[in-house]
């Protein structure tokens, strides 16, 4: 797809069919709305912090919808849209940012690791998990997401290497949004592209327009299929842009030009996909199309409203719960501390 949503001629990857294109757009619309809602909540102080991914919806949605039923997602703090698309309860997605607890969801339930803050550290978890699944005879692949900045960490390197040597089915989706907080890509790497890093591990590297959900979907699907078939892991670099600040407490005017933001806004993934959908009649004739698009909007509104409602109440936090899951059983030391804490709170 070009930047106006025209389908470009040829590609070696299979383009998603109409149903898939619709899914992708629907998920992006919901994701965008979710990002906006969460950012608003952060501004209102109802979330401690929120790292918005507005502008990156195509990369996240395209990556996640390519996953199969048994597959796992290993997301970062930036990937709320990926989580929601993957089926994680939107409110549970926000628990971390609300500050009620760390991971708000049961990773096993959603086949989704906790949102990861220490950069690049969960990539090796994905490698280990798929190794374990293979040993248990299960056909499980994983999508491990990281940012452009995170690729500089030693942990990224080690995960790539373990995956390649063990030939585990992991696709490393690098969302290159051009910035690591305030640090631009050229201060991060001198490589021609981040996808080139794959060469040094003997794996495949793909460079894809990360604002084209169809392209991301096609490439990640292809990479996952190859990985599953024993073709080894891959790096998929999705070129995209973080339109919002790093988090609500960031000050992007200190490090980047408005012009750059404008350049990327003009390549907005939702606008482009909507244009393609309209042009190609993906959702039917004009009337059907507009109706369907409106339905997506409505659904997104519903998601946002539900999030607002469910976050409106006050949290029930149980101090004693701090001690419950440090170890499988609460050891004597923590039992004493718990007692003291509870007693202390009773006094005051």
């Amino acid at each position: 797809m070009d930047r106006h949503g025209h389908r470009v001629s040829h590609s070696s990857f299979t383009a998603p069919d109409h149903t898939r294109l619709a899914d992708l757009h629907r998920a992006m619309v919901i994701g965008r709305r979710f990002n906006q809602q969460a950012s608003t909540l952060a501004r209102q102080g109802r979330l401690a912090v929120y790292p918005s991914s507005t502008g990156q919806e195509a990369a996240q949605v395209g990556g996640v919808l390519a996953l199969g039923d048994q597959d796992w997602l290993f997301p970062t703090y930036r990937d709320s849209v990926a989580l929601v698309t993957h089926g994680v309860d939107p409110v549970e997605t926000l628990t971390l940012f609300r500050g009620d607890w760390h991971s708000g969801y049961d990773p096993h339930r959603y086949r989704c690791a906790p949102q990861c803050t220490p950069l690049a550290t969960n990539a090796s978890h994905a490698v280990g998990l798929t190794y374990a699944a293979r040993r248990k005879g299960r056909d499980v692949a994983a999508l491990a997401i990281m940012g452009d900045g995170a690729t500089s960490e030693g942990d990224a390197h080690e995960a790539y290497n373990f995956a390649a040597v063990w030939n585990t089915p992991v696709v490393f989706l690098v969302q290159n949004n051009h910035w690591a907080i305030s640090v631009p890509l050229h201060a991060q790497t001198a490589a021609p592209t981040l996808a080139h890093k794959a060469v040094g591990y003997g794996m495949r590297g793909y460079h894809v327009d990360g604002n084209d959900a169809a392209a991301v979907y096609a490439v990640v699907s292809h990479a996952l299929a190859e990985a599953r078939a024993g073709g080894g892991p891959a790096i998929v670099e999705a070129l995209t842009y973080r339109v919002d600040p790093h988090t609500n407490s960031d000050a992007p005017q200190r490090y980047r030009d408005e012009a750059e933001v404008a350049y990327w806004t003009a390549r907005d993934p939702l606008t482009r996909m909507a244009a393609l959908i309209r042009r190609e009649g993906v959702l039917g004739d004009e009337e059907e199309t507009e109706r369907a698009l409106a339905a997506f909007d409505a659904e997104a509104e519903k998601v946002a409203a539900a999030v607002r409602d469910r976050l409106a109440g006050e949290d029930e936090l149980d101090p004693a719960s701090l001690f419950g899951d440090v170890y499988a059983e609460v050891p004597p030391l923590l039992r004493e501390e718990r007692q003291e804490l509870v007693d202390g709170l009773r006094e005051t």
């Binding site: 401690a48 912090v49 703090y77 971390l96 940012f97 609300r98 500050g99 009620d100 607890w101 760390h102 803050t117 220490p118 950069l119 900045g149 995170a150 500089s152 960490e153 030693g154 942990d155 690591a180 907080i181 305030s182 640090v183 201060a187 991060q188 790497t189 000050a251 200190r254 490090y255 949290d315 936090l317 101090p319 701090l322 001690f323 440090v326 030391l333 923590l334 004493e336 501390e337 007692q339 003291e340 804490l341 202390g344 709170l345 005051t348």
Partner: protein
Amino acid sequence: MGAALNRALRDAAAEDPDVVVYGEDVGALGGVFRVTDGLSREFGAERVFDSPLAESGIIGTAIGMAMYGLRPVVEMQFDAFAYPAFEQVVSHLAKMRNRTRGAVALPVVVRVPYGGGIGGVEHHSDSSEAYYTHTPGLRVVTPGTPADAYSMLREAIACDDPVVFLEPKRRYWSKEAVELPVRTEPMERSVVRRAGDDATLVVYGPMVETALEAAAVAAEEGRSLEVVDLRQLSPWDDSVVTASVRRTGRAVVVHEASVFGGYGAEVAARVGERCFHYLEAPVLRVGGLDVPYPPPKMEHLHLPGVDRILAAVDRLQWESEWVADAEGPGVGG
């Protein structure tokens, strides 16, 4: 305190062209806490700059720079994000002088915003001092006041030892009026922040302010607490603390870190040994719970506050009662 640190960096860089400042986001952004604000503009991108996002690489390159005569001041963005550099810190930074019989000094300052109290999500509020203080060869210092922040950072940069400079991030915004530049006591010396007779509160970094508040409250209740601010945690010169405790006969050590195996254990053990015959009560420790740092909405339960400090003071056996230790006061309250 942030402004004082900023000024210290600026003055040090202005005085010594060998001072370079780098890390993640310390350039144009001025650091996520703005401690390096304006420095890259003032000193240029060759001296104050953003590095690739890799903490081990940051410390490793700083070691190399110091080997060739620079005085790098590097920032670890948050406490827990210094862990990737642990090997470089423990196996190289701390040991290089010793390994080379003094031939290679490493005047590197590793600035680490540490501790909680700012509502940070997981991995943003660790108090990691005990990992460093158990590592011979490192100087570990932490200022408790803006004046100390300025003075100690200047000293740290001038120091020929590697310094882990722990900045109590919740105090970045504390606005005590200080005229800068200022020079305080040498950083290796602990100081009495408030004199008192009945018991000694041993504190550092973020807990200095808290302990002073506690002492003020205690004073109203008729109890005179001495507050000692340790400042340099390692190598530690215990003379100020032991002198104080020999006088007061009672001590409470307070820090944000989890109590078990925390820095307070060293203080309590050492005071217990060196002031044994002067102690009227066991040395108590008040600190973080022995659990992973809690989420923002529960961190107040973890962090020592005035109440918990005073509760510990109350338990210092003022009536000379015989405490049945079996059911006695626990540790970590």
